[in-house]
Structures are given as C-alpha cells and as structure tokens.
Subunit: 325 residues, 2 copies
C-alpha cells in the first residue's frame, strides 16, 4: 500500500477507536469517550506517526504521543466550546451542552491529564524533548485562546494581532505534531526545526482557509452553517482586512453593519459578503495563504526527507490551500 | 537553624514569591499571579523539598517539582471554585468571581500547563518517575472532584464512598508531594512507598479535621464562616456518620433538616450541630482520624529516615490532628 496520509489515517483511527476511555467514575469518563469518539479527520496525530515513519523509525514509538496530541486537541475544543457557549460541534451537542458546564470543565481537565498520561509513555530518552515541545505548545494554545477572547471586546484588531492569534491558537499545534514525529523519528535538530516551520505555515493556511470557508464555503461540504462568523461578529481575516482598507464614513458604516446583532440574519450575511467582495478581501486572503504556503515549501526543502515523502507533505499542504471541507 | 517545617516554609515561600507569572497576554496571566500569590501555607511543596533534603539530596533539585505541585493545587482550586460557584477564597474574591468564568477556565488550564512546565524542569533521570506520580495524582484529584459533585445529587452516600472521595480529592496529593520529594532525594522504592502511605493517611486526617472545623471550629482561627458545609447541605463525614446511625422517622427528619435551604441560617446550624452532638459524630470522626494517624505512624517507621527527621514528620502529622486553622 502506498504510504499516503490515508494509509496512516487508517492505522491511527483504528488504534484510537480501540481505546476505551470509560472507567470509574462513569460521570467523568463517559463525556470524555463522547468527546474523543466524535470522529473527525485526526489530522494532527496522523502527521505525528507519519513523520516518525518517514524519518525511518518504528511509528509505534510515536503512537502514544500522537494519541496525546489528539486528546489534547479535543480537550481544548471541550473548554473552548464552554467559553464560546457553542451548542453544536460536528453535528452533535457539545460536551457542556449535553452534560452541563461543570462536567465540561472537569472532564476537559481530565482529558488534559490523560493527554499527559500518554505523553509519559514516550520512550524515556525522548521524553524530555517531547514533553518540552508538548508543554510549550499547550501554553501557546492557551495564549491564543485568550487573544481570541480579547478580540471579542476590543473595538479594533490589527492584522498583526490577528495573525499572532491564529498562529498561537492553531498553527503552533500543527508544527508541534510534526516536530514530535520528527523527534521520535530520530531526525536532526535542524530537520525537526524545518518540519516545525513547515507545520506552522501550513497551520496558518489551514486557519485562513477556515475563515474563507466560513463565509464563502459550501454548507454541504463544509459541514457548518455558512456565515457563522459574520453572525457572531467575529474578527476574522476577512473583517480585519476589510477594515484596514476602508476609511471615513464607509468604514464606520461597515463596522456598524458587521456588529449589528438585530438585523435579519440572511440580510446581514448578504450585505457583509458584498462588502468583502467589493473590497477584494478574498484575493488578499488567498495571497496571504500563498505566502505561507511558499514558506512551508521552503521549510519542507530543508527537512532532509526523500522526494516521495516530501511529495506526500506537499500534497497535504496543497490540500489545505484548496480544501472545501 | 533547626530544620523544622518553618525552616523549609521560609525557603519555599521566598522562592515562590520571587517568581513573576505575569507575561503576555496580561489578561491570561494576571489572574494566575492573583491566584498563586494569595498566600496560604504552601504545605504541599514544603513537604516535597523537605523530604528531598531529609533523604540527603540537594533540595534545589526538588524546587521545580515543588513549584509544580503548588501551581497544580491552586489550579484545582480555581476550577473547583467555578464548579462550586464559590465567591470567596482566603478572604478575597475567587478568580472567576473577579475575572469571569471564561478567564477562570482558561487561566486554570494555563496554570495546569505551567505546572507541567515546572515538572519538565526535573532532572532528566528522575523525570519519568516524577511525571508518572504527578500525572497519576492529577487524574485521581479529578476523579475525587467528580465524586464530590456526584454526591451533591445522590440522595444517599455511604461512609465507604465518602472516604474514597476524600482519599482521591485530598489525600493522594499529600502522598504524592512526599513521594516526589523522596524520589528526588534518591530514596529506595520501599521508602518512597512508605512516605507516600504516610502522606495519604495524614491527608485523610487533614480532610476529616477540615470537616470538623467547618462545623465546630472557631471562625477567627479557621478563617472561614463556621457552618458553611451545613448551609450548603454538603455530605461530609459528620453528615454521613449521623445518617448511618439514625433510622426511621428520626433519620427522615434529620435528612429533611440538613437539606432544608429555606430555614433561618443560624437556626439550621444550631439544630444540625445539636443532632451531630446527640449522635456522637465528633467522637467517631476523631477516632477515624486517630486510626489514620496510627497508620501514618506505622508507615513513617518504614521510611528509613533518621529519628530527628521522623520527629519533624510526626510533629507535622500530629498538628493535623489538632489544628484549629
């Protein structure tokens, strides 16, 4: 079988789904099982085992850290959903919506602990390095979430601030899963650094595409209601970019429109989309994505991987540029 | 200077207070500084560095794990206060009360991450063992908190269930700080296990005395309003013990009294205290404490520590039996 992302996806998903997270007390662990078995693409842990394998080490050695990453990622979703008061994720009630926010908080804490339990199963000689990347990343993800919450009450957000937020909240974790895979694959420090850069830039592309799809995507393929960010008055790349381009009364009018919570929903979405199109924000978003994609490709060149392995990662990065899901 | 608990307390407190937890973004880290600099006795980390020193290793090696334990303990308080909707801790507004519950959740998560950051600074050859104890304990503390929340909605709680809850929620952490100190002090596995047992039993004494003080303590020395558990209808040792002794209509009457949320507060406290006294719950609580104290002393004998060191730990354990603070 050709070693595509799908190959590793199958291996990881089977392994992950075979874990039984339910134990005593049931009230604590059932929500964890619920959160972790909600499906999803498992992209992050798949990258970890794949990169370990690419660098020539047994991917089994990356399995527990990969499970840790997936558990950690889902923990952040459980707590973020409480903070965002989000009722639905992947078509099902969110954990706090189903079980209450106290259980949401505590089962999230337990998932975070569980993630560290899996990290602890890393081979001892690699443990300090893996632990360091994992913990640094966890800290940055918290900082990114805080910036995101700050944005809600800040009247203005600059593009630099916005890019820093998505870098911390989304991009660093993508870098970290690749780097952890490389560490466990016995890559050199330079190679670990290069694949980390590749991951960070690809993570930026991933998030920017998310911003685009939320407004201009196809509801059926994207799986979420289109226009959610607009209705939530969320300061996305599109909004910040438009605001940077507008001035005077046009700017004030757009700001009022975007932050209007009383307007008919369909009307608001149409009007904001018109303003985005008029101000060419799609083109700017795509060119920023392309810039990060180019930087990802530069970093990929320094990973020391074989051409056919680079091709898999390149294909992955390119899919982030054009995905509609 | 004689090496009493106070000696280590001074060293730890000075070190801990010298750490500046505030960094960017300020909205995330200021609540952390607020939570961590609220004072308190710092008992747990003090035990860690003391035991490391007792076993003959440089206590500096236990300093980062000790800071990790204190940070972790305070993280649990921040999240517990949200779950318990507790407005005040140590005479000041709780974190979520001061900053809102979203910041309470996220700065708690960040404190937990920070705790692992300090664990990661453990000497590499000791890191796997310390990490394992730390993570196992964190998991158990979460389980204990879940049981405590379950008790709120359970009509009946047995004494076994109650003891298991306080064991997980409180006692294991006391055991873990001592064990981590012993690991870092290069104690043998048997010695680590013995000091862990000593800590667990002393932790049980600590919590049972807490139950007693909450109802029968002195408001000035205890620092909390006396009768809080009664007003919160909390299933404590005292309540469970009384319920075990009562039967028939007396039992039903007591249950109704204890769970009455409309009665005048002073009247309810007086009536419940009368029922406790009538049913001899203080004596039972004290004899259970004594039983755990005796087990702690048995374990202490197996720690391989010098007589003067055992004396310090014995004095500590005895102070838990009679403390009024």
């Amino acid at each position: 079988m050709k070693k595509t992302i799908q190959y590793y996806q199958k291996i990881f998903t089977e392994r992950f789904n075979s874990i039984n997270f339910v134990k005593f007390p049931h009230e604590l662990y059932e929500p964890i099982e619920y959160a972790l078995k909600a499906g999803g693409k498992r992209l992050r842990p798949v990258l970890t085992i794949m990169v370990c394998d690419f660098y020539g080490n047994n991917m089994e050695e990356a399995m527990n850290p990969a499970i840790a990453i997936e558990t950690f990622h889902n923990f952040t979703l459980v707590h973020d959903d409480i903070m965002d008061n989000a009722p639905i994720r992947r078509g099902r009630p969110t954990v706090f919506n189903k079980y209450g926010s106290n259980i949401g908080i505590l089962s999230g804490d337990t998932m975070f602990t569980k993630a560290y339990e899996f990290v602890t199963l890393t081979r001892e000689d690699k443990l300090p390095a893996v632990l360091k990347v994992f913990t640094k990343t966890a800290m940055e993800v918290c900082e990114g979430q805080q910036l995101d919450m700050n944005f809600e009450i800040m009247p203005e957000v600059t593009m630099d601030e916005y890019m820093q937020m998505i870098f911390l909240k989304t991009a660093v974790l993508m870098g970290a899963c690749l780097k952890i895979g490389a560490i466990l694959g016995n890559a050199t420090n330079e190679q670990c650094e290069a694949i980390y850069q590749f991951g960070e830039h690809t993570g930026m592309v991933f998030q920017l595409q998310d911003d685009l799809l939320d407004t201009f995507g196809n509801e059926k393929t994207f799986g979420k209601r289109i226009g959610g960010d607009i209705l939530d008055c969320k300061k996305t790349f599109l909004y910040v970019n438009a605001m940077e381009k507008l001035s005077g009364s046009e700017r004030i009018a757009f700001q009022l429109l975007y932050n209007d919570k009383t307007m008919d929903e369909v009307e608001k979405i149409i009007k904001v989309k018109e303003a985005f199109i008029k101000n060419d924000v799609i083109a700017d978003c795509k060119s920023t994505m392309q810039k990060h994609h180019d930087l990802a490709m530069e970093a990929l060149a320094k990973t020391g991987l074989k051409p056919e392995q680079k091709a898999v990662l390149q294909e992955f990065a390119e899919s982030m540029l054009v995905r509609d899901f």
